[in-house]
Structures are given as C-alpha cells and as structure tokens.
C-alpha cells in the first residue's frame, strides 16, 4: 500500500503495528519455547504455563546429547562433511558452467542451457528410484557418496551464476584478451574474483538446503555411524524418550545454530538472493 506523505499516526498504523507484533510473537514463540525448554531441568520441561524466556540455565542439557548413546558428534560431522562437499562441488561446477553459458560462444549453447534449465521441472521423487538402483549397483548404499554425488551439480546454481557473469562489463574481458589472457585465465583471474557475491549467495542457499535435507539421507543411509543430523534428531525424539524434551530441544537448538549464524552474518545476501530467485519467475 502506498506510503502516505501525511504525518501523524492513523488508526490504520495502530492496527497494522498490532497485527505485525502479534504475528511476530506467534512466529517467534515455538523457537523461544525450544530455547527456554532446552535450559530447563528435565523434570520441569513439561511444566505449564510454559516459559518463553529462560529463567533457569541448565547448560548441562547441552552436554547430554554428547553423553547419550546417540553419536551426536558423529552426526554433526557427517552432516558437515556432506554439506561442505556438496556446497564446494556446486560452487566449482556451477561457476564453470555459468561462465561458459554467459561468456563463451560454442555451437548448441542455447539449447544445452535450456535443456539444463528444463530439468528444474523434474521433481526429485521421479528420479530417485533409478538413482537408488544405480547407487546400489555401485555399492554406495549407506555411503555418503550416494548423497554427495548427485548434489555436485545444480541447474539453479548454473542459472544464478550465468546471470551474474552476464552482467559483467565486456570491457574487462576485452582488456584481458589484449593482455594476452586466454579464456581459462580470464575466468580464473577476472570473472571469479568479481563473482564473490554470487558465489556467496549460491554457497549459502546450497549449504542451507543440504544441511536441512532429509529425503536423500533417509533413503540412502541406514546406520548410526552414517546418519545425518536431521535424521539423528528425528530419531532422537523417539529414542531418548518423549519424556525428555529439554535434552531434545538442546540438540535441536545446536542443530539450528549454524543456520542462525549464517542468517545473521549473511542476511542481506540471503534475502536479496531469494527475492531475486523468486522474482525471476
């Protein structure tokens, strides 16, 4: 709605402030409950009325997952390993392909790009059965490679990087050519150093998606040594008994922390990137 130029506070302002505040409280409450419960003595974690801000600070709840029979450190390390491998892999493959589709001319370029882009329409559950059979024949069931390998490429990432490389001024590349730089050097020494924001955007989106992913680990991994954090925490709820929400919430809080940290540091990028991805249509 138009921002009106007239000053003073209208009834509409009061209503909208109140609605926004109520909505913000409703959105924040489950996460506040998670945090305050994670710090409560386990005997009081079901206590009603609920407390929204922590009044007690049982930090030892945060140690409990590490002492339990659930290999929490291992789960964390597994998730981190898969997430970093996929993110780094995508940064490499997507920036290479994005650069080629944006700045290099070769026969079939437009067709190959559109074909790749069309694959965005294919839902993951359509391809999962053959991928499972493939991984099985390669002996990669219950192996992190089964999740990492299909994650190494991304049509969305190629699209994102291509858009970015396309916007770079041609003069930069002309100047490099005059200085005798080949295509590979132009890419490595001119395009890539300037692509920081795009790489950060792709990196953050991929990191978040893989860190949170559940479908593939559920299908491919079947031992506690190989489970990822979301799998572990989903199992933890039943495993540690529903009677111990404090410890479960401490584990969930720790699992969400990397996401929160990334969000605080890179909020502007995330919001811009997702908005742009959304607007592009």
């Amino acid at each position: 709605m138009g921002r009106k130029s007239k000053r003073g506070i209208s009834l509409g302002d009061v209503v909208s402030y109140s609605l926004l505040t109520v909505a913000a409280i409703l959105v924040a409450m489950p996460l506040l409950w998670m945090f305050s419960t994670s710090l409560r003595p386990t005997s009081e974690s079901y206590q009603l009325p609920p407390q929204w801000l922590p009044t007690q600070f049982r930090w030892e709840n945060y140690l409990a997952p590490f002492d339990s029979s659930v290999p929490f450190v291992q789960l964390f390390a597994n998730s981190m390993k898969i997430t970093l491998a996929v993110t780094l892999g995508q940064l490499v493959t997507c920036s290479l392909a994005g650069y080629a589709f944006a700045r290099l001319r070769f026969p079939g370029r437009e067709f190959l790009f559109l074909l790749l882009l069309a694959s965005l329409m294919i839902p993951g559950q359509v391809t999962i059965i053959p991928i499972f059979l493939l991984m099985r024949s390669l002996g990669l069931i219950d192996n992190h490679l089964a999740i990492i390998l299909p994650g190494l490429i991304s049509a969305f990432g190629v699209f994102l990087m291509r858009q970015f490389f396309k916007q770079m001024p041609q003069e930069l590349f002309d100047a490099a050519r005059v200085d005798g730089a080949g295509h590979i050097r132009s890419f490595l020494q001119i395009a890539l150093p300037l692509a920081g924001p795009a790489l950060a955007t792709l990196g953050i989106i991929t990191f978040n998606a893989i860190w949170n992913s559940y479908f593939l680990p559920l299908i491919f991994l079947n031992s506690w040594d190989n489970f990822t954090l979301p799998q572990g925490i989903a199992l933890l709820t039943g495993y540690m008994g529903a009677g111990n929400p404090s410890v479960v919430m401490a584990a969930v809080t720790m699992a969400i922390l990397p996401v929160l940290a990334v969000f605080i540091v890179a909020q502007r990028w995330i919001i811009e990137a997702l908005t742009r991805a959304g607007i592009k249509g």
């Binding site: 489950p30 559950q125 059979l133 493939l134 390998l149 559940y214 997702l274």
Partner: protein
Amino acid sequence: MQNSTAFKGGILPEMTPKRREAVVGYLFILPTYIGFVIFILYPLIESVRISFLEFSILRDSTYIGLENYARMLGDSRLRIVYMNTIIFTLFAVFFNAGVGLLLAVLLNRRLPTLMRNLYRSVFFFPVLVAHTYIAVIWRFLYQQDTGVINYYLSFLGIEAIPWLSNVHWAMAAIIIMDVWKNTGFAMLVFLAGLQSIPNEYYEAAQLDGANERQLFFRITIPLLSPTIFFILVIFMIGALQVFDTIIVLTAGGPGDATRSVVLYIWELAFRNFDMGYAAAVSMTLFAIILVLTALQFVISRRWVHYE
C-alpha cells in the same frame, strides 16, 4: 599475440580462436553435463521404463505394459493419498500466500526501516530451518495433555484437541505448521513485488480522491498479480511434493489420514520394494507438475507483455 594466447590456453596451440573458445566452453560445462546425464536425464528415462515393469530389487523384473497404470485406477489408497495431498495443497497454498501477502502489505506501510527489517527477519527465519527440526519442536507443542497449544486454547474454553491422533486434526496440524514455516518466503517475495510498484501511481490516484481500499484493489492487486500468480504456482508445486513436513510430525498417520503422494511413493519403493508401481505413481505427479509449470510459463509471459 595470437600464438602467445594459444600457448597460454595450453590446449592444441594450432586451433583457431573460435574453435578454442568452443572447446573451453564445452570443457567448462562438462562437469555439469556429466552430472546432468547421470543423475537427471538417465534416471528420468529409466524411471519411465521401470514404470512399465513389474520391478523389485528382490526379484527379476518383467515387462507388464500398462498394468501399473491400470492398477492405479483400482488403488483406493492412491485415491486417499491424492485427496490428502490436494487438501493439503489447497489449504497450505491459500494460507501461505494469504498470510504472506497480508504481512507484506503491512510491512510495506509507513514503518521505521529498522522495525521493518526486524519483523521481516523474524517472519523469514523459519524458512531456513529444516522441516525435521520444526516438526520435532511442534510435536511437543501439539501434545494433547502437555502441549503448549492446547494449554492456551483452554483459556478460550476449547477442550484439549487431539492434534496428532485424530484423523481430521492431524491434517490441520500439518497445515498450520507448514504455514508457520513457509509463509515468510511468500512475504519476502510479495514485499519485493510491492516495493517495485512506483509510488507515483498511488500519489496520482490519491490526487483523484481514491481511498485506501480503492488503492489496494485497483493498483496494488493488479500490479502485483504476476507475483501472486508466481507464488501460487511455486507453493503449489512444493505442496504437491510434501514429504519432510509430514514424515516427522505424523509419518502419514493416524492410519493414512495425512499420507501424501510422495510419502506413498517412498513407502512403495523403499519399504515394499514395489518399484515399478512406485515409478508409475511418480509419473502421475510429474505430469501434474509439468502442466503447472507450463501454465506458469505461458501466463507469466503474457503478463510481461501486458505491462
């Protein structure tokens, strides 16, 4: 100059510059295309083939023509999971888009920038958190006797709701949680759309004596319609594939009350190893999503021309 460039490129120095550019281009897209062929193109074709087979990793496969497709017609569980998915999709899309639009409109009013950014961050943050973790938290909140939600509802005189154990409430529980998590994304995109509407339109209309209601329905909504349409389609495609949200919260239960199509496909393929039939079911979902995407493509193109 030509020669030195060629040598620095390092590959076949005698190639023409044009040729060299093409070779580098193909080399650069090679990793992506290898992955694309192995993990998207081949599985897609293979999936179509499997859908014509009686296929299980436990036995040899046999060609059975359209039998898997015919079997779907008589599969009462498939009807149930499709109904569930459609109900979830309708409600989730409506509320995600509706609440998102409302929040965006409110945030786009005269507000201190700091406040707008703070509220926007709060609304958006759940989008980044895994469905799995969200569901673990909400499972506690939804507890019938000890849950926080029923505790507050009791003040309104509402008796303890069996959120996760009742066939009707379980679906409502999933939709509420989904909207809580995902409406922030709709809000973000709508807000960007609203901010791209030039202020002059509103000023001109106000000079002509338009009231706020008229401004909203005559300017905001028409100019925002491509964004609204985009959000509806994106959320619809996402909701039709719902899996993570459900599996941790209710695992499809009670009974089949919240089982979605993808949960059913997963169960068929990886619990019952009835992979031929699972592949056939996945084709129906694929077809629906293709139609929606094509629709989105055609209509959004028309809109771009209109503006």
